[in-house]
Structure formats: structure tokens, C-alpha cells
Amino acid sequence: MDGISVIVTSTLVLGGLYMLMAAGLTLIWSTLRVFNFGHGALMMFGAYLTWTLLDAGGLPVAVALLGAVAAMAVIGVAYEFLLVSPFIRRPGGDMLVMVATLAATMLLQSGAQLIWGPEIKQLPPFGGARVEVAGAVAQGSQLVTILLAPLLVGLLALVLKRTGIGLTVRALEQNREHAQLLGIAPRRVYVFVVVVAIGLATVAGALLGSMQFISPGMGGDPLLRAFVVLALGGAGSLTGTIAGAYAIGLLEAVTTYYFGLSWSPVLVFLAMIVIMLVKPEGLLRTKVRSA
């Protein structure tokens, strides 16, 4: 009983974190057709910014997070202008974007080290509420993660479904050339998408930074898990991403519980490789679209 409740809580927490990361990656992938290898570093940077606003600015943690999201939006615009759009239309552009976003990771990591120093930081918990359901306990930042992540990603799905900008994003995903002929400017949509994705990553970073620590390399693991989520859920579908995030969260919680922390990632990644081999378009994806 105790084991199961631990597994349930960590599935929901991990699933929430991975969902926040993977939803942004999915959005970027389906509109821009690139994988953002800098997403983990952006998450880390967002966590540090939150910490600064909280520590130096003296703001409450939720306000600090909002401020960090706004600041990261500016960085997101620069990111799109400098790292994605110069390469995306070139022949072989997807490899250039991959290399550029890897370089961006290094840039952000060393930048964080220069700005914030080698000392590890931590954010305070997001509130002190505690909820217990059938033996499974979640409190503070865990509870916020469990609730906020599906809320934000659900909100994103709603925006995509119901609003004008959402319609534009979906149109560009589905038929780029015809979308342009309707007068849609791809660049504006790209900037929107990148900014939203980075905003979600910032939230993930702040949540992780309050449950664990903030360090320049903190984004690496969540980024890799988010990639696994994409492989499982299909890289272009938000519903697949949500389901995939909880599935990977569950897999990781179970394997960590039974096999320990060092074997869990190995099993998770082996699962990814197997999925990519047997069903490259994603296990949870029903509608297959040619890439």
C-alpha cells in the first residue's frame, strides 16, 4: 500500500513535469519541424531567473515565476530570431538547427554559471497545502505540479482549439504553403509557439527547482525524458503528449521503486529505443501524418 501510494504521487508529479516540457517540444516540432535541443537549458535559465526575482527582487514565489515567464518570453523571441529562423529554410536546415540549439544549451549553461556562480540554489515550496487521497500524499510544490501542469497544458490545448491564433498555428502545422497563401506569416506563428513553449518550460524549471535544486545542468534529464515522451506519444500530438507524459512518469516511478535510481533511466531509454523501432510514429498516436 505504501509503495503504491509513493508510486502514484511520483507518477503524477513526474508526469506533470514531463508534460510541461514535452508539450512545448511537441508544439515547436509540429509547427517548425525542428527539435529544440536547448529546451532543457531554457528550463534551467527560467528556474534561475525565478530564483533571482525571488531572492534579489523579494517577490513572492508565484509572482517571481510570472516575472520569469515574461523575461523568458523576451529570450524566446531572441532564440527564434537567432537560432531557428536563420537556418530553418536552408537546405539541410534541420541539422543546422539541431547543432545551433545544442550550442545554445552550452551558451545558456555557461552563461548561468557566470551569472549565478557554481553554488546550487533552491526555490522555496510553492505553498504548504497538503492533500492525502487513499494514502497517497502530495504537498507544496508536488501538489502544485500535479494540478498546474495538466491545467496549463489543457489551457494550451483549448487555446489551440478555440482561438484565432490557435487556428493559425494548426493551419500552419497542417499545410504550410497554403497557410502562407491565406496570408499567414509563419514567422509570427513561430515566435508565438517558441514563446509559449519556453513559458511552459520555465514553469517546469521553477517547480523542479523547488522540489530539487537549481544547477546549470538541471535541464538535461527532463529534456531527455521529454524526448522519450515524444517518442511514445507521437511528436505532433498534444493528446499523445499528455498520455505519454503520464506513461513515462509511471514507468519511471515503478522502475525507480523496484530497480533503483540508476537503473530506471536505462529502462526508460530502452523503452524509447524499442518504441522507435516498432512504431516510429508513436505508440499512442492514432492518426498518422506523413512527416
Partner: protein
């Protein structure tokens, strides 16, 4: 004529490699020379898949690390002749490349990048998980040095390591050159530029890509072994982001489409990195900026710049492309 010109370069190349340590005798300069050779070997081997075959192979750093760990384990836990560790490490990296190649069977393009990148990261977790064998996060220390007869390769400013590295670099240069000019090389270019056409002409993508993947991996494994002997220690750093970005900057600065570009890139980036070695995080910052600047202004790297300079020197004015005869029928 072209043959003569192309083969005359090799003795010159060999002579330069032999002469370099005689000119630069200072121990630090010698160390840099060794690093040139090691990074040159690695960058060239990676460029086989990344540049020539156009495979999004980001597992190369994993092969390098696997080679290093193979040597570390063999040299500290078995009584094996250290020299044998070099080829065995190449072989173990080759075996690993068979696993890393699995995703390439069914995936294309950026998806391969994703899977192979994850493979490299997976290596770190495996090493940490097998702490009994690999030393976990402490790494492996006390790897015995290589010696030839009674001469330790460390003697005289590590000159032995330099000549070993230079020999490897020379061999790999010849290998890459021969490979790229062979029918294998041609078919790789064909697959990269027009896969549908190439496969319709009977080129097997999987077979050709597997060959070049294995060759590249074996070379990286030997380089990893060399690195282990040179440093005497192995840690999970060999799989790390530092090596990955360093090598990417070498390849893209030198020119990912060129045979020799990555060697030039290795030399330049090694020097830059050496100048900045006390600058801490600034060093990484500069390397990352270097990659980005090259991608922005010269996506074909130094080799591309050199090529266009050479062409413009040879032909002051390129002739206008010949217009097609107007009577020709265009087909759809």
C-alpha cells in the same frame, strides 16, 4: 595529372606530421600537438556519418567514451598487453554502434538525431549504474601508460604519444579520403542528396549507412582508448556535453562537407580552447558562440571559404550557366 597532384600531398603531409614535434619542443606545445591529432581523428571519424552520409549521428561521443572505458577496464582489471587495448576498444565501439544503429533502420533525419543523442546519454547512466566495473562517478584511475620496449610514450614531452596520434591521424586521413572517393562514398552522397533516386538505382541505404557507421565508431573507439592512455584516467566526462560541442565546433568550423576541413577545425578549436583554459565558463561560452557564428556566416566552414576563394582565383569570372535549348521538351 590529377592523380599526381592528389598523391603528391601525402608525403608532404607525413613529413609535416613528423617535423612538427621537432619544431615545437616545449612540453605544452607538444601536448597541443597530441590533442590536434586526437581531435583530428575524432572529428574526421564523426564527419564520415554527420557530413558525408548526412546521418544525424549524435552517438559518436558515446563510441568515443565506450572506447575509453573499454581501455580503462581492460588496462586496470586484466593483465592484457596495453597495446592490445587499442584495437579491442575500437572493436567494442564497433559493437556498440550496432546497437546505436538500430534506430537508423526505421527512422530518418532528425529522429535519428534524437535517438542517437539519447544513446550517448544512456551510456552515462550505464556507466554510473555499473559502478563496480566502471568506478561509477569516480571514474577509473591509474591506467598504465603505454610503452614501446623500454621507452615510455610519456618520455620527452610525451613525444611517443604524439607519434602514435600522428600515425593514427595519418591512417584515418587516408582511410577517409579513400572511403569518400570509393563507390561507397559516392553512394553515400547519392543517398544523402536524393535517397529515393539512389535506392531506386539499387543502392542499399541500410547497408551503406551501417558500414560507414561502424567504421566511424571503430575509429572513435580507438581515439577513446588513446585518450584513456594519454590521461591515465577515464570519467563520464568522455560522454559529456563538453566533448560533444567541442567536436561539433571543429567539424562545422572546418567544414562538414570536406575531408580535411575537420582537421583544420580541430587545430583552430584546440588552440582557442587552450588559450581560454583558465577562463572557466567563458571558454564554453566562446566555443558555443564560435559554432553559432560559423553557422550564421559560413555554413560550409573554412573549407567552404577556401573553396570559393580558390575557385574565384582560378576562374576570375564564372561563365553563365548554359541556357537549355528552347526546343527541348520538359517532362513532368
Amino acid at each position: 595529372m590529377t592523380n599526381l597532384r592528389s598523391w603528391a600531398g601525402w608525403p608532404v603531409y607525413a613529413t609535416v606530421l613528423v617535423a612538427l614535434p621537432l619544431v615545437f619542443t616545449d612540453p605544452h606545445a607538444r601536448l597541443l600537438l597530441i590533442l590536434f591529432t586526437m581531435y583530428g581523428v575524432l572529428a574526421m571519424s564523426w564527419n564520415l556519418t554527420l557530413g558525408f552520409a548526412g546521418i544525424f549521428n549524435f552517438a559518436q561521443i558515446g563510441f568515443f567514451g565506450i572506447g575509453a572505458y573499454t581501455t580503462g577496464i581492460l588496462a586496470t582489471r586484466t593483465g592484457i598487453d596495453p597495446w592490445l587495448a587499442l584495437p579491442i576498444s575500437g572493436f567494442s565501439a564497433l559493437l556498440a554502434s550496432l546497437v546505436a544503429f538500430l534506430p537508423v533502420l526505421r527512422l530518418r533525419g532528425i529522429y535519428v538525431g534524437l535517438a542517437t543523442y539519447v544513446f550517448s546519454q544512456l551510456c552515462i547512466y550505464l556507466v554510473l549504474g555499473q559502478a563496480g566495473l566502471t568506478g561509477g562517478s569516480n571514474g577509473i584511475v591509474g591506467i598504465p601508460r603505454l610503452s614501446l620496449g623500454d621507452v615510455n610514450l610519456r618520455a620527452d614531452g610525451r613525444i611517443g604519444y604524439y607519434f602514435l596520434g600522428a600515425a593514427l591521424l595519418f591512417a584515418v586521413t587516408v582511410l577517409v579520403r579513400v572511403l569518400t572517393r570509393s563507390t561507397l562514398g559516392m553512394s553515400l552522397l547519392a543517398l544523402r542528396d536524393n535517397e529515393a533516386l539512389a535506392t531506386s538505382r539499387g543502392v542499399s541505404r541500410v547497408r551503406q549507412h551501417l558500414i560507414v557507421f561502424m567504421v566511424g565508431a571503430a575509429v572513435a573507439g580507438v581515439a577513446g582508448s588513446f585518450n584513456a592512455f594519454l590521461n591515465g584516467v577515464v570519467s563520464t566526462d568522455v560522454f559529456g556535453f563538453g566533448y560533444l560541442t567541442l567536436l561539433l565546433s571543429m567539424i562545422f568550423l572546418g567544414g562538414s562537407g570536406s575531408v580535411y576541413g575537420p582537421i583544420v577545425g580541430a587545430v583552430v578549436v584546440t588552440l582557442v580552447s587552450d588559450v581560454l583554459q583558465d577562463a572557466g565558463a567563458w571558454r564554453d561560452m566562446v566555443i558555443a558562440m564560435l559554432i553559432l557564428v560559423v553557422l550564421w556566416i559560413a555554413p560550409k566552414g573554412l573549407a567552404g571559404i577556401a573553396n570559393s576563394v580558390l575557385t574565384s582565383l582560378r576562374r576570375p569570372r564564372p561563365p553563365a550557366p548554359e541556357p537549355l535549348p528552347t526546343t527541348s521538351k520538359e517532362t513532368v
